[in-house]
């Protein structure tokens, strides 16, 4: 019995953190955000060097064949450094789509490409996770897709897309396919690209080898765990920043970190956030090893971290006082990262509704 990270996992985590500390400092993040870069190519390149795109791709397809827990550690690190780089769709959900539902030929054609970091891939299944708005929804007919998809993950600069249709089918679509229009959606979080895809009779390659419904569920579960981990990383970084600031900032002749009110705000943040780490670890572990618990645990991890994340984001900002509210310290990049994590792939209320259905407490 060992509930925790292996030595390899700790080393991997350290190495990703070390790399991001170097390549994703606040200045770089700010530059990417202000210039609206779809993603920071240099940071992406550093992640490719680490093998991140192939993390969960099987070894025989050129990947590292690791587990979702490893991916969660990377996601946590990316949140920690508010890294403006593709990950959740490109390195987790898209590989799962291909592993789950692509034909051997398709796998061979695409997985090694993905694993090598040669392609950035967007994933368009938000309507399944969060419900449909503004007439979104994709209809597949005769191998062609029509309709629109909102909140497409890792959208900007993607080379191709994995697209879910209204009947739960999955398709692979090239970014330059005729009839496909891509629009950037601006969210509060300028470190990750989220977009809209509009399809008019667009040529698509269906993924039909495995049960698409199961595959979609797996993609969603994994995506939710990744978002939870992103919030964990961003949240802890905010706590650390708040503690550091409180140890330096003086008012009334004392560092503000010696005031009980400020100390207790920091203690509450840590106490609320830290148990979420174990929940994420378990959810990630269940994804690979205890499939019958996977969806429920992913839902709980996502919903719980969303709630705690909001509390931490607000409280850490308050500890920083007026400076936390300015753009000067850039604290808001973490605040907004957590804000976007909360709503992607299902708001906490919606995700808990899924958890209710999974336990037979509510009708679908």
């Amino acid at each position: 019995m060992e509930f925790g990270l292996s030595e390899d996992q700790r080393l991997m985590q350290e190495s990703v953190n070390r790399t991001l500390e170097k390549v994703s400092p606040l200045d770089r993040v700010r530059k990417a955000a202000e210039a609206r870069e779809p993603y920071a190519r240099d940071i992406w390149a550093a992640l490719v060097d680490l093998g991140v795109p192939g993390l969960i791709v099987p070894e025989n397809e050129g990947g590292m064949g690791l587990k979702l827990l490893d991916a969660a550690l990377v996601s946590e690190a990316l949140g920690r450094y508010v890294a403006p780089a593709p990950f959740i769709a490109t390195a987790v959900m898209a590989p799962l789509a291909l592993i789950g539902s692509a034909s051997p030929r398709q796998q061979e054609a695409f997985l090694p490409k993905l694993a090598g970091g040669e392609a950035v891939v967007g994933v368009a299944i938000s309507e399944r996770a969060s419900g449909a708005r503004d007439g979104a929804g994709i209809t597949a007919s005769g191998g062609k897709l029509t309709g629109k998809a909102l909140f497409v993950l890792d959208c900007g600069g993607a080379d191709f897309y994995i697209v879910g249709d209204r009947d739960c089918g999955l398709h692979l679509v090239w970014a330059d396919a005729e009839g496909l229009a891509r629009t950037e959606l601006t969210t509060i979080d300028l470190t990750r690209s989220v977009g809209e895809l509009d399809f008019v009779n667009v040529e698509a390659e269906p993924l039909v080898s495995g049960d698409a419904k199961t595959t979609t569920r797996r993609m969603l579960d994994a995506g939710r765990v990744m978002l939870a981990a992103d919030t964990l990383g961003a949240g802890w970084r905010m706590i650390e920043k708040a503690v550091d600031y409180a140890k330096e900032r003086k008012q009334f002749g004392r560092v503000i970190g010696s005031f009980q009110a400020v100390k207790h705000m920091c203690a509450e943040m840590a106490a609320e956030l830290e148990p979420g780490r174990s929940l994420i670890w378990y959810a990630a572990h269940a994804f690979d090893e205890i499939p019958e618990e996977s969806s429920l645990m992913a839902a709980h991890a996502k919903a719980h971290l969303s709630e705690v994340g909001r509390f931490v984001a607000r409280t850490a900002t308050e500890v920083h006082g007026g400076m936390g509210f300015t753009d000067l310290l850039g604290l808001h990049y973490w605040f907004k990262r957590i804000g976007l994590d909360r709503q992607l792939l299902g708001s906490p209320e919606r995700v808990r509704q899924d958890a209710a259905v999974l336990q037979g407490w509510a009708a679908e």
């Binding site: 938000s126 419900g131 601006t186 009334f252 009110a261 607000r314 007026g322 808001h332 605040f335 919606r350």
Partner: protein, 397 residues
């Protein structure tokens, strides 16, 4: 308990309505972004003339000269709001500098500044907070050193809204470096065109520059432009700061915000179901509705106390804390109910209400922090409202 205003006030209300009917075509459409527009200045003069702006300021200083009557002020506000007409100018010159000069200025200062400020011809900014002096404002470090009949000012201010468009500043500076911290400060007024002043926009988490930083390098200002004497600045500022805190957490803002959320939830759908039909969001809405109502009635109670010149005690001290928190929670509900659409911002397609809810969610956090943080508010409530002891001074290490 009597929610009617009575005949005298209803007559007054009719006057206001008549004014509105007669003059509504003169209301400015464009108010001007940083400074009042020409039509805004015309409107302001008209309002002063009829007593709907600068109502209680003496005639000799350019006001209307009426007796203070908080109910009449409220009627004016209600009627203008119902008619969707803009009130007169509202800026820090009018709300903070004018009352200060009236109470503590010399006759010369009053004559010179009040009338043009009321008319909107002179725009002011406030130089109080500094990067190192927020909650502990009295620790401010901007120095004013004597040099003949002048002071030479060096230092930095922050959170200075409209500084880039202001003609003048009322500013707290340390003139007596050897005095105790509260007794070494003076309240000085001077032109923003004085050489040595640099204004830099201060961008906040909302992505906009709602404030500025102001840097003073050897700024030369006549000593005579102190208000209420050397070393009196802390006491001058406190009189007006109290006024500012009262404005934050206004329950009417929460009321109109609540209306907007109700409208949003009644019209916006998710998977074809109206958001108001979602039991979770609806229950949160109802919880917030009760809080908004409570704060609105609480506001009426405070209004009544003011009108009767009664001290409302702790009831007044809690307004900023509760009001700001309530506004923030309202914005959070709107964001949550919107789901993924709730994170859109800026100029995004599919954006709802121009991104107002996210902007408010962030800006309100600024308000929770600004004008006395939530922690400072709780100190005040517990000490002044509940009579609990101040924290003991730390022993020298």
């Amino acid at each position: 308990m009597d929610l009617a205003y009575g005949p005298e006030y209803e007559a007054f209300r009719q006057q206001v309505r008549d004014f509105i009917a007669a003059h509504r075509d003169k209301a400015p459409r464009n108010f001007g972004v940083n400074r009042p527009s020409e039509e805004a200045l015309v409107w302001q003069r008209l309002l002063i003339e009829h007593g709907y702006a600068a109502r209680t300021i003496p005639k000799e200083y350019g006001g209307y000269g009426a007796e203070p009557d908080i109910l009449k002020s409220r009627i004016v506000a209600e009627e203008f709001s119902n008619a969707r007409l803009p009130m007169g100018l509202s800026n820090q010159g009018i709300s903070m500098l004018v009352p200060t000069l009236l109470e503590l200025g010399t006759e010369e200062q009053k004559q010179k500044w009040i009338a043009p400020t009321l008319r909107g011809d002179v725009v002011w900014c406030q130089g109080y907070s500094e990067p190192g002096s927020g909650s502990d404002l009295a620790s401010l470090q901007t120095k004013a050193t004597e040099d003949g009949d002048d002071f030479i000012i060096n230092g930095q201010k922050i959170w200075t809204s409209t500084a880039h468009a202001a003609d003048m500043i009322f500013c707290l500076v340390r003139t007596e470096p050897d005095a105790k911290k509260h007794e070494g400060i003076s309240y000085l007024i001077f032109s923003m065109k004085t050489p040595g002043i640099e204004v830099r926009p201060l961008v906040t988490m909302t992505g906009h520059a709602e404030f500025n930083e102001v840097f003073f390098t050897d700024v030369r200002v006549p000593q005579k432009d102190i208000v209420a004497g050397r070393g009196q600045g802390w006491f001058v500022a406190n009189a007006t700061l109290k006024h500012e805190r009262g404005m934050l957490g206004d329950p009417n803002a929460a009321g109109s915000r609540l209306k907007q959320i109700i409208e949003l939830m009644e019209t916006e759908t998710m998977d074809g179901e109206r958001l108001i039909e979602n039991p979770l969001f609806r229950d949160r809405l109802l919880k917030l509705q009760a809080r908004v109502l409570a704060m609105q009635f609480h506001g009426l109670r405070l209004l009544t106390a003011s009108a009767k010149k009664e001290d409302a005690g702790i009831a007044r001290l809690i307004v900023k804390l509760q009001g700001c928190d309530l506004n923030h929670d309202l914005a959070a509900l709107a964001i949550d109910a919107l789901g993924e659409l709730g994170v859109l911002y800026g100029e995004s397609p599919h954006l709802r209400a121009k991104g107002t809810w996210q902007h408010r969610y962030m800006f309100d956090l600024g308000l929770i922090i600004g004008g006395g943080t939530a922690q400072i508010q709780k100190n005040i409530i517990s000490e002044r409202g509940l009579g609990m002891p101040r924290e003991p001074k730390p022993a020298k290490a």
